[in-house]
């Protein structure tokens, strides 16, 4: 599903440049539940941004769903993101003036789906994350956990190939963290590839494969107890 070969990425800082990713190789197959662990500055967010087509890489090859990602313009990237990827952000990134239902339906709008149909589908997904009754509420009327579940519903609504979650529990307390992780597990059990970035061991432990990054290189790549249990 995701195949990365010798991936490099640098950021210019003044006249110098900061080499963030130093030749990563990573292969994530369909249906995997992978977490990327690392302290801040390890390059994990950069990796997710590149995988999520939110940023470009400098060197190496990246295949998404078998397609080589190269020289994408914004328009093509937008189409691919809409088709293959669902995002869950640490800060939720819901649009503040839209209701939960409208937020979930937004990716379908960019897919070109009619209003009635997309609201119907969006409602189904809100039901799936247990927030059907909150459909008409604005984000600021929801708790952190609820917001993140709305965001997850929004990530899932286009039936993407991969769900990318950047510190999905970073802004949540432990109880809501568990409920969000349960939801991600559930999604993965249904066959969705889930790619989580975290610095919390407890969160990573709930995934099936942990990739550890340090200073832009992979230092370990192991299956967890969860995976063995299956």
């Amino acid at each position: 599903m995701i195949k990365i070969e010798n991936l490099h990425k640098s950021y210019p800082i003044g006249k110098d440049s900061l080499h963030v990713l130093k030749g990563l190789d990573l292969h994530i197959k369909e249906g995997e539940f992978v977490s990327i662990m690392g302290s801040s500055g390890s390059g994990k967010s950069t990796l997710l941004n590149i995988v999520g087509l939110l940023d470009t890489h400098d060197e190496g090859k990246y295949y998404l769903n078998g397609q080589l990602i190269k020289d994408l313009n914004e328009k093509k990237a937008a189409i691919l993101r809409n088709k293959f990827l669902g995002f869950v952000f640490q800060s939720f990134n819901l649009i503040s003036y839209k209701t939960a239902l409208e937020n979930v339906a937004l990716p379908l709008y960019y897919k070109g789906m009619g209003r009635k149909e997309r609201l119907k589908i969006a409602l189904e997904y809100l039901e799936k994350v247990g927030l059907k009754d909150w459909a008409e509420h604005l984000p600021n009327e929801l708790s952190g956990g609820q917001k993140q579940r709305v965001a997850i519903a929004r990530a899932l609504v286009t039936k993407p190939k991969v769900v990318l979650a950047d510190e999905p529990t970073g802004a949540l307390d432990s109880t809501t963290t568990d409920s969000v992780m349960d939801l991600l597990k559930e999604i993965n059990d249904e066959g969705m590839t889930v790619f989580v970035i975290t610095h919390e061991e407890e969160v990573a432990a709930q995934t099936k494969r942990i990739v550890r990054l340090r200073d832009g290189v992979i230092i370990s790549d192991k299956l967890t107890q969860q995976a063995k249990a299956v």
Partner: protein, 410 residues
């Protein structure tokens, strides 16, 4: 453009962000309002000026004489100048091609009587062309004609108010009036836009007057309408030439304005035209300034709005929005606000102008202030284009920011 869903997005965005929409709208509405008022008031001024000259024909010229103020060719100053048929004929013979209408005028004031009602009225002895030069509208009977002059007929054309004074509601046409002891037959009744005084004048043939009152060939004034094919400069030149020629003919010092002068409407028209031209130039300058201020206002607000929404655009892009769809959304929103606000400003402006109406006519010379739809539509189009550019440039920039950068924006 006619994507219902996009309009829904835009309306939601406007609706949920009332303050910023109102702010940008206000700028535009205010600019258009000022623009409308400015143009309206100047057009009101212009109307007043045009009206001031509506009474007499636009191409009229008067030859007037009085006393000499300068000695010339051994003649003392203070000599009274008298125009006669000779000058009248000279003018018409010499300048036939440059003249459209011509008439002499003899001023008299007579007591006019019908049965037991009598009053003093100005009486003018004229040629038939006088009708066109004074824009006299005969609504009953006829004006003086060539045959009246040839026959020195005792016929009279009276103004509407003379008829009312002497006859009231009763018919007057064909009746005989006693004018200073001599009986004239009423052949016509006229009205005139020049005001009440103009409708209390009676007209008789110039030849009749010359025969009856003095038995000479004197006339008081020569009244001409220059050929409308002449442009203003040519007409002014004609007037000056006529003045020179007549002074020479009557042995008047070439610079003696008092003895003989030609009052030429072409000069007045030229002056008014220049004045209005300058006024309009100022208005266009100030008006464009107002519009530019409005445009800068929208641009500033749009830049601010787009900065504020950068994160939202980042989210939308992460969810699959193409840059073009974001640009289109912002631009359409900008145009929509500009158009609605422009329309509001325009309506308010026209409403205020209609309230002002003619109330400022007497004190401020502003009559019927209004703006031509062309100017208003033009100004609105300028603002829409401005809204388009104001929205497009920053939106284009925002839409091309990498989503990762946009998402981290606050």
């Amino acid at each position: 453009m006619f994507d219902l869903d996009r309009w829904r997005e835009i309306f939601q965005s406007i609706n949920k962000n009332k303050l910023r929409s109102a702010l940008s709208g206000f700028t535009v509405a205010f600019a258009i309002l000022l623009f409308t008022l400015l143009f309206g008031i100047v057009s009101g001024l212009s109307n007043t000026f045009k009206d001031a000259f509506v009474d007499d024909a636009q191409n009229s010229m008067f030859v007037r004489v009085w006393r000499t103020t300068k000695p010339f060719k051994g003649l003392q100053k203070g000599r009274a100048i008298q125009l006669t048929n000779e000058e009248y004929n000279y003018v018409t013979d010499e300048y036939g091609k440059k003249i459209q209408f011509k008439t002499a005028r003899i001023y008299k004031n007579f007591n006019i009587k019908y049965r037991n009602k009598a009053n003093n009225y100005n009486v003018r002895a004229v040629h038939p062309d006088h009708q066109y030069l004074e824009k006299t509208k005969v609504y009953e009977g006829r004006y003086l004609i060539g045959r009246d002059l040839k026959e020195k007929a005792k016929v009279i054309v009276i103004g509407r108010l003379i008829k009312e004074d002497l006859f009231g509601e009763r018919p007057a046409l064909g009746k005989r009036l006693n004018v200073n002891g001599i009986s004239y037959k009423i052949v016509g009744i006229y009205s005139d836009d020049g005001g009440d005084n103009e409708e209390r004048i009676a007209y008789i043939p110039v030849t009749t007057a010359q025969m009856i009152y003095g038995n000479n060939d004197h006339i008081s004034q020569i009244f001409l309408g220059y050929n409308p094919n002449l442009n203003l400069d040519q007409a002014v030149a004609f007037g000056n030439q006529l003045e020179r020629d007549l002074r020479k003919k009557l042995d008047i010092h070439p610079d003696d304005q008092s003895a003989l002068s030609v009052r030429n409407m072409a000069e007045a028209n030229k002056n008014v035209g220049q004045f209005m031209g300058i006024l309009y130039a100022i208005v266009i300058l100030v008006g464009s300034g107002t519009l530019i201020a409005g445009i800068i206002g929208i641009s500033n607000i749009m830049i601010f709005i787009i900065k504020e929404r950068t994160k939202e655009f980042g989210i939308r892009k992460a969810l699959g929005a193409k840059p073009s769809s974001i640009v289109a959304m912002v631009v359409q929103e900008s145009i929509l606000i500009t158009t609605i606000a422009g329309y509001l400003g325009l309506s308010l402006g026209t409403y205020i102008l209609s309230l002002i109406g003619d109330s400022l006519e007497d004190d401020y010379f502003i009559k019927d202030p209004s703006v031509s739809p062309t100017i208003v539509v033009g100004a609105t189009i300028v603002l829409i284009i401005a809204g388009l550019i104001a929205g497009y440039l920053p939106a284009k920039k925002a839409a091309n920011i990498k989503p990762i950068v946009a998402l981290s924006a606050d």
